[in-house]
Symmetry: C2
Subunit: 500 residues, 2 copies
């Protein structure tokens, strides 16, 4: 696969990519949907329609005149015109024939969802070789087989089985698992995140994860690139491409082939050839790619990298009203490789009027309780963000709506009006934080023990604050930003070795 015909480490324009028409088709020929609702083809066709894709849709079905209410064609050859993209959700055995027909109709791009190829062993590998040859013959570029294709919410395109949830976002994903695209929609939307474009690459018979990375590097909607990797075939090209992208856009990878158990599982999943952890660690380091150690961490890193300014260094100030969360955060920061500088004399002086006698003007700055919520959420963070010895503010935030309601009732608000008033109090507080977020040049990260689905959390997240349910996740995400800025600076300075 290490081909010489695609030169240049970074695309001049996104339209040059084989992925361009796959992710931005004007029309789609769809194979495998029917009027029975159970088959995967029908489910995917439902998703595509439910999302409101604006281009022409041509379902192809051997017997039905209509599929899910849309005019169907007996054969792709019967289509009134060619289509930009073919989506194939067909039994393994007929994929080659249909791909050949698509080629004859002039279709140049495809998503092959069907499985049963290289991932099931020798017989499947033979079939896969044949579809590759057929594609080559017609000049077709395709994703898959054994993938679920793409979601590009900016184009209301979704060839995956789950409905897309939430708004379009800034995370571009290239994944060797379709589930980690489609099953993340809800998960990401709960963090106020979304995909710019997400691709499931499956067996990578024709287009591979490096092609996807190249596309996402040039994609204007993508601020950060997420990779789920079971094994990389074009290692050299991966490194070159990543090194061209990282100066402009961070890349985070979750790699699962580094253990014997992960390697075996990946082989039977996508036929991927994995390598030992240290090999991949080396490749990622050399490329300036950040490595996440779990799927949630992959998106934790993407969150802060896409939402926040890059910090000037690794010095964190922790603000808390609770000692345990402060101490745990201090420990987590230390473990993650972050420094906790002491406060400067100026800051200590400015803080003095806000500190109760039980409080601590160290770092963590622990107020021991919240005397005045507006001070805690607005005045103090503002003051701490001015600390010249620190680069990042890590803020403990916990305002359960039940407590706010209880306090309001005790202050004389009638019980029936308390919930509405609670909502308003919470909104005012989160507005204060949002104002800081959008006017300050240093990153602010939040952590909490509340559910991220509590109204206060949801409001903070909705206003763009990365909020984590434990200090460890927050600390590691901050360190990812620091690490990214180190990689970026070394690459921009033209350094060959960016390892740390």
């Amino acid at each position: 696969m290490e081909s010489n015909d695609r030169n240049g480490k970074m695309l001049k324009s996104i339209e040059q990519s084989p992925l361009y028409r796959i992710c931005n088709p004007g029309s789609i020929a769809f194979f495998g949907a029917s009027n029975s609702h159970a088959p995967m083809g029908s489910i995917i066709f439902s998703s595509l329609r439910a999302f409101g894709f604006q281009g022409a849709l041509y379902p192809v079905h051997p017997t039905e005149a209509q599929v899910q209410g849309i005019r169907a064609y007996r054969s792709v050859l019967d289509l009134p015109q060619s289509a930009d993209l073919a989506v194939l959700v067909l039994p393994t055995g007929i994929v080659e024939e249909i791909l050949d027909q698509c080629g004859r109709k002039g279709i140049k791009h495809a998503v092959v969802v069907s499985g049963g190829f290289k991932e099931v062993g020798d017989r499947g590998a033979g079939l896969e070789k044949r579809i590759k040859e057929t594609a080559l013959k017609h000049g077709i570029r395709f994703l898959g087989p054994n993938c679920i294709g793409v979601a590009n919410p900016y184009e209301r395109l979704n060839t995956t089985p789950f409905p897309y949830e939430g708004p379009p976002g800034f995370i571009g994903m290239a994944s060797q698992s379709g589930s980690f695209v489609t099953q993340m929609f809800q998960n990401l939307s709960k963090r106020g995140l979304g995909f710019s474009t997400a691709m499931s690459v499956g067996n990578e018979a024709n287009v591979d994860i490096v092609d996807c990375m190249e596309y996402l590097g040039a994609c204007p909607n993508t601020k950060v690139i997420a990779l789920y990797i079971e094994g990389i075939t074009r290692g050299k090209r991966f490194v070159e491409t990543a090194r061209a992208i990282v100066p402009h856009k961070p890349i985070v990878a979750f790699y699962v082939g580094g253990t014997e158990t992960g390697k075996r599982a990946g082989l039977s999943h996508t036929g991927a050839m994995a390598g030992p952890d240290r090999l991949y660690d080396g490749m990622f380091q050399q490329s300036g790619v950040l490595r996440a150690r779990s799927l949630q961490e992959l998106f934790d890193f993407c969150w802060v990298l896409g939402a926040l300014p890059t910090p000037g260094g690794n010095r964190v100030l922790i603000q808390t009203h609770s000692g345990g969360p402060g101490t745990a955060a201090a420990d987590a920061c230390g473990r993650a490789g972050l420094d906790l500088p002491p406060l400067s004399a100026e800051t200590v002086e400015k803080l003095a009027p806000f500190l109760p006698h039980t409080a601590s003007a160290n770092n963590p700055v622990d107020f021991t309780f919240v005397k005045n919520p507006t001070q805690y959420i607005l005045d103090i963070p503002k003051l701490l963000l001015e600390e010249k010895n620190a680069d990042v503010l890590l803020l403990y935030l916990l305002v359960p709506s039940k407590l706010v309601t209880r306090a309001l009732v005790q202050l004389g608000v009638p019980t029936e009006r308390a919930p509405e008033k609670t909502g308003k109090v919470i909104e005012r507080q989160t507005e204060a934080i949002a104002a800081l977020l959008h006017t300050q040049k240093k990153p602010i990260v939040g952590y909490t023990l509340m559910s991220l689905e509590e109204p206060f959390s949801r409001s903070l997240i909705g206003r763009g604050l990365p909020l984590f349910d434990e200090a460890e996740r927050a600390a590691r995400a901050i360190m990812a930003m620091v690490q990214y800025s180190r990689f970026r600076d070394k690459l921009l300075a033209g350094m060959g070795d960016v390892r740390t």
Copy 2:
């Protein structure tokens, strides 16, 4: 603190513990509540009352005749009788005097919430020394200062500022942070968990975390003990006590003093003297105590240890319908120290009728999609639990209610009836898993990419299945069970060295 007057490594009965009356008081004298709602004393008094504590409550207030509608006393000396427990939420400077009055009234147990002692430096340390002497003079045993006391939901006792949420549970907690008691109520209840009894030990001037551990070891409502540690003073006693408890009950510790940053923060939080990680690692290993690396992980471990049978070994079977989640789980298991045995010939044969041709009868067993939900959730797990080569079943579970609703509507269920019917479908599926959980002797652990607050997740959790939002957390929790069984077996066999 290493005293000789308390012999025996394990309590004969829970009543012997100085914590017994603190956690099970018949009556409480309360200092620091008023008719103003803002002070911490008033907030705690509200929590205590809101939870419905059944014993007598005697608020003491220098000027008010009633506090929050309850008859108040000018002085503790005016109480109609002595009380089992005094709760002090008072300015630092008057704590000693009030404690002395309590002693004169015959009160033998106290919770000192007030801060401003050892944790703020030399002056505070002097005050702390004096309250210790006063307590000694009267034979008072007390928690704190600088703590929030206890929650014992079985007795409807809650001396913390947050309302207790959810049912009583099986986690006994002793914590050097009050926040990690009170702020966990909501967090735990969302996982269907709760505290049996939770104690915040503060500065440990009189009763320490080892006393609490001893109490929880003997507490019949406690199935697993959680410790949050910033520093242990009585190291030898800690080891002896833990070694006596672990054969009968697992102990999990989250220690944050092992980094320089964590150590410094702990010192200013509770005045704890922390030690390097390797020292504590050694102490935990020697004691048979499991170490968690974050607060969430502390409760992850408690969840599986309290809810599931102990596994016979470290061999895990993974069942999935999605390749990526399966591969990531395989990698996570490998990293956690778990084995993934191949399926036996018998199991492969029994599985055959259930497997589509795209599926993989390896481990992970990957069905690639769910042909029949009842099979996936009932028949197949049952069959896999019979696999003689495996000790634990790790099950990928993902049924978003939106998808169920969409499928029902497509099958002809009227849109307005679909949500109710969705609920029923989900309940039937989770019932099937619950039936397995309660009849099988091997542990079953679930993982998902759905929100744990989705109806399907909530129903599973409500029926007792430990469910994690990523494979890594699930794998590490399983390894904690395996590790516990190793510790336990070595201690039961009388082995001096239980390190692994």
